[in-house]
Symmetry: D2
Subunit: 436 residues, 4 copies
């Protein structure tokens, strides 16, 4: 790591509306983590947004008075070359594709969601080949870089990178940091004094222990029927009897599995009113970019916080900071399973507490893994593995198996129809499936 | 084993309509497996049927001219004392309870089936405590006996026995022997020349290899869209694309998982026409017992074959024979997992090919375990484990977790309602759940 | 934990010459870890030494001006009742027994050492039953206490406690903290900036990674032929070629395995000159206790540092501090294996880096476990398991298997002779083996 | 398999003195396993012996009147092309090399043996590259062939083939069949009625169960102090107490580990009298070839039985027969571990009972694996793995680690000297280690 001269950071998908948040994070942490060059890189179709948000980034840095160079580019290789950290936050197919991911499944009575179910599968099928292209560049141009992967479905993408590249990569989600902040607020302690233990995989985790100032508070939390929700998803309560016998706090995304009909109905109703979540996000983003254009704006606008994805950038900056400074603190990350769960392959990505050292994260085996949840974890992991294999090979049979074995897909018949329609709708982004 | 003086065999649930089949099996195999005493034992409510079928058994033996003593009794301990084999084929709650198992779930839009889903769970909750009572007797009165368990859900019951008793027990299902016979017939070879390899657990298996005279025929079978069905379940075809990419022949019971809506509709329609399967069986049994009463009947009547459960007794006699004679042949049985599947606990029951020696079966690790199916296997096994724990403890919370985590139960909400209604309906047979 | 009123700490074997060190540690760390009561407990034979060292302890506390009550007692139960931490540092059979452990094996040409080989085995056989007696008291009188076990062989003793009691216990050795301090000194950084990774079990570990300020320094260290040695063992160099291809720094104790003849000769020569290590320690202790008697001595005397066992008390105080204050720092401890090494049982004790929380240590899976060393680790662990079983049962056959399968015992013949002679020599302390 | 036209069999190392035995086996089993072509292939230096023994083979076949073509050739590729079975029984470096394997270690006070210890290691280093060359030919010219590997050290060689080629290969040793025959003789039953269960790896196994006509006879055997010995090794008794507490019958080769000094002394004495075993074999072989030359000899001479290696050919013919005829009988073979031993890698070769089908052997998990022996098994397997890696890479560091971690090598110092001298002595056959 080039400690003496400051860090080079490349943000793939730098034209994202989130960018001001991560820029703010870099500015705030500059004393611990001096950045020399920040490269925001995007694709041709994203140039317009990259210019707007990139110029805001430049004004923010200028305002801070710090010697950070901000570069805007469409040349990914130039951005990556010699980088210390590469962060990915991209959306292959843009919001148009997300709209299909959310919409098509619902027409078959199946959860239509960005990361869970068939929607998440197609997001993965579009994304994995592109991420691996990026990895080829990193292997060549920045072999010592750490890749921080925010791109959803983060678990699948991280696992694909681990299996098919030599890049040192870590998957990140804002869900765990939200749990931590929520608990710290509830108990009025600092975040350092809260240690929730996460069991599971990305967007499918259970918090099965909760130390607050060293005391186990889980039974108290469960008996109160308390659960955490992220800001960008509707708040719905959990059944109290269920929580108690479960012995863990399920993540919001588990509602898609445990309360499927309810969630499906909510989705349908919301869609009728406001369109899918992609439509909502689309409108929010338009407004944000209008704000970003203002040449007098020299800081992150408050409105960005309503965009969802709270604390994404804090999670990212924390992680870079701990690697850079060998902080050995505990963060919840997506990394390879190793021996942690003896029922999953060693190369499966899991979401787990890690001690973060300069040589990367070391996973901490959870102390309490309820038998109850192993089957569901395993079933979803099988779907994830098949999805990666399908993305790499373009094999329709494997894609069919992935869908059929997803717990949210009700039958072979539905899986076949869904697969055909979604493949066709994503044809442009799935060359592997449409080779001669 | 008391080789010199012949075997003592106890059949728990001896008043079953199946009994003539097993008696026929004993007679046919007498030269290899000489039986001295056959004890048919039943409970007070089954006395009437025990008398009818028991007398038929006596006439059959008489006709054979063999020196087998047939005893009818309501005294289980007398029947068990000193037995070499104890076979269990009982139905706690009789067909009335089965009717509820099949009927109540359907009213919630859930598969209602004797062994799969909530129906199977309640059959297990009723049966496990009784089976363990029987085991206490065997431990005391026939510690060297082998228990052959046919009682459904055979996988769960066998696992419960292994976990909570010292009885040497093996679970048996007629499904694998039917596959074998079906393949032998298709390829016009003897059964010895067919070696299907079973992956999975009871009523949830996939045949992932099929050697016929030493050649692997699975790809041929899968590409023909061929599948086997047992006689007592409706014949429905599998999707050809699905089978091919699956890489295995799924058991009929997997239709409940892979074709849920279709099966549910079939059930509903059949129920409207003929009542549940319990109603049908009830009528068939009445007719059979009418036949059995005929004092001139001295052999198994042909009509029994339409009862379903084909080759059950052949499976049982084969197993006893191989243990008695140390035949070391291959049979498909329900035994403890050991290290076979590294993602399941060592004490989980699995359905697997075994070499049967005088010291019991030794499981043969399947050579080809598709990744696809591991998640579903694991999820159902988790439900099974929770069911056993619920049966032992009478803990409603654990029972709720079992239901919620069953892949066929759609939500916490449905699980709670189902649980309440089915517990109430089975109150008489579930003292563990209704203690003061 | 009784945070408001200060801690109660019981030191079993409080009459040890080490006690002034731990007292000094408590005094130095009082602001972070306020101690209300310190109970030094010993057995009748140790009363004289307890009085001497206990009075020194009282003078040290007085000098510090801190409100710590120091209690001296022969009543173990009183000392344990309500304790927050129980530390054990005892020697069943006193130095006399150690002398035999060291001496008898050498007469058969086998390493005679306090913790490694037959000597360590007999120390374990004497100690395990006593430790489990203590655990019975803790279970009853201080069920929430943490037991810190320094008593050698620490790995075996800790594993026995985990298997046969419900006490929360952690095994501790000063060897890892010495490595850490050595490396920090070599690289002139603070100890926090050094992260050596330990693979193995107590007194049989390899350091297979060495991060200094986040950089991997192991290759550099190995190519320099550098190795660490504890102060209480002779310093001998390792072969440079061997170290390089080994890919790890072996602990000093591994010389008994890798350089057996050399070590045996050293032992013999030293014994001829100075008697066994027990004799040497005996003389050192006599001198120390002479010093301790001095009523003007009000601090730990310098001479204690030459006693060996450097930093034992620092290790202990660190551990208590991190549990008490939920520090979540990394310490190297002896804890249950769990899934860390997939070739060892889950309940095997291993020596491993842990994050120490208020709920105890969480083991960090080592990142680099050389295949080379797995066999030796497994072989010694097998010996350890058999030793525990022998200690519990008093079964000579199991004890024989333990000795025969120890890598340092050359043959069945030697094992049998050694076993007979050592059992006889320890008869007084091994009632399990000499029951009627 | 070319069933209609008979089998083609290639014997690599066909000039061996054992060849008449295997030829006799083929003749005796012709009705079950019709052989069309038998190719005996050897290297240039072996041409003389190949001619002698090959002509005897031809006379034997002629005498039998069977239509088997016997071909003698130095062209390995011609022999392999289209073969159904390839059997390897070769000795790279001939008896001269064996002599060094046996002699050099003894000069350092280490067991000098053909398959165990440093001797076995060097045999492996010489053999692995050659075997893999043969595998390249088989992959190209007979991809469906089964390779039966008798070449010692059979476990290492078989594992190397499995790791570094796609050839279907099985390792064979005559030790298990000797156990079976010995037990059958002792109990006066047929071999089919004996089922010994083997735990371990090649030349390092324990028989931990012994069913005779279905009854467990192990305790009886162990309490009698009975043990089996192969004919080609000195008969020495085991200690009765040791056997009883061990819970298994150790193979003769385990004497090198459990009675090291005794065996070393025996070796030294025998060497002084008769030279090493290589010298003895050399004389026996000379005499045998004298006999073979006799043009009137048309059958296997009795004297061959004194050569050692009893029943090698019976083991080989049994295995081919069961594969060819899909016999599904139980044989003890060296195959990949899979999940059988959870403490060994899946690709480790183990010696284990298998059901032999036309698609190859399926390993039967042993029911009783004593904890005692796991460490030794693991330690020797680690040495084997390192040896394979050393053979492939020619890395001296890895070879040093293999030697140091072999339980029979006492120290780094001895290992280094041994390594240097043995590498030099084998320079001609170890090009990997002597590249520029």
């Amino acid at each position: 790591m080039t400690q003496r001269t400051g860090l080079k950071i490349a943000v793939i998908g730098g034209g994202s509306s989130y960018t001001p948040e991560i820029v703010e994070g870099f500015i705030r942490n500059y004393d611990q983590m001096p950045i020399r060059e920040l490269w925001l890189v995007d694709i041709e179709q994203g140039k317009h947004k990259l210019d707007i948000v990139g110029n805001l980034a430049k004004r923010m840095v200028e305002e801070s008075g710090l010697p950070i160079e901000v570069h805007l580019t469409l040349d990914r290789r130039q951005a990556i070359e010699g980088a210390d950290f590469v962060s990915t936050q991209m959306r292959v197919g843009l919001l148009e594709a997300r709209k299909k991911d959310e919409h098509i499944p619902i027409t078959y009575g199946v959860i239509g969601q960005e990361t869970t179910g068939p929607g998440g599968m197609f997001k993965a099928l579009r994304t994995v080949p592109i991420i691996l292209d990026i990895c080829r560049d990193i292997e060549e141009l920045a072999p010592n870089a750490w890749m921080l992967n925010f791109t959803n479905p983060a678990g699948i993408v991280t696992e694909a990178v681990a299996k098919y590249s030599r890049v040192r990569s870590i998957g990140l989600c804002n869900s765990p940091i939200n749990v931590q902040k929520f608990l710290a607020a509830q108990y009025e302690v600092s975040e350092k004094d809260v240690l929730p233990e996460f069991v599971g995989i990305n967007h499918l985790h259970w918090v099965t222990s909760c130390q607050v100032k060293g005391e186990e508070k889980l039974p108290e939390i469960l008996s109160g029927g308390m659960a955490y929700t992220a800001k960008n998803v509707p708040t719905v309560g959990w059944d109290a009897d269920f929580l108690k016998s479960l012995g863990g706090i399920p993540t919001y995304y588990l509602k898609y599995f445990y309360m499927t009909d309810y969630m499906l109905n909510e989705m349908k109703e919301a869609m009728e009113k406001n369109g899918t979540r992609a439509d909502v996000v689309s409108r929010v983003e338009e407004e944000l970019f209008e704000l970003y254009k203002d040449p007098n704006l020299r800081e992150k606008p408050k409105q960005l916080e309503q965009r969802g994805g709270a604390y994404y950038s804090e999670a990212a900056v924390n992680l870079m900071n701990s690697i850079y400074n060998d902080r050995k603190d505990i963060q919840t990350l997506n990394v390879a399973n190793g021996n942690i769960y003896d029922f999953l392959p060693a190369d499966a990505s899991i979401e787990v507490n890690c001690v973060v050292t300069a040589q990367g994260p070391i996973a901490l085996p959870p102390r309490n893994v309820p038998e109850h949840v192993k089957g569901l974890m395993h079933a979803v992991k099988v779907y994830e593995q098949l999805t990666i294999e399908a993305a790499i090979t373009g094999d329709r049979g494997i894609a069919l198996q992935a869908l059929v074995h997803h717990p949210l897909v009700p039958s072979i018949e539905v899986a076949k129809k869904l697969l055909d329609e979604m493949l066709e709708a994503n044809r442009e982004y799935l060359p592997n499936f449409f080779r001669e």
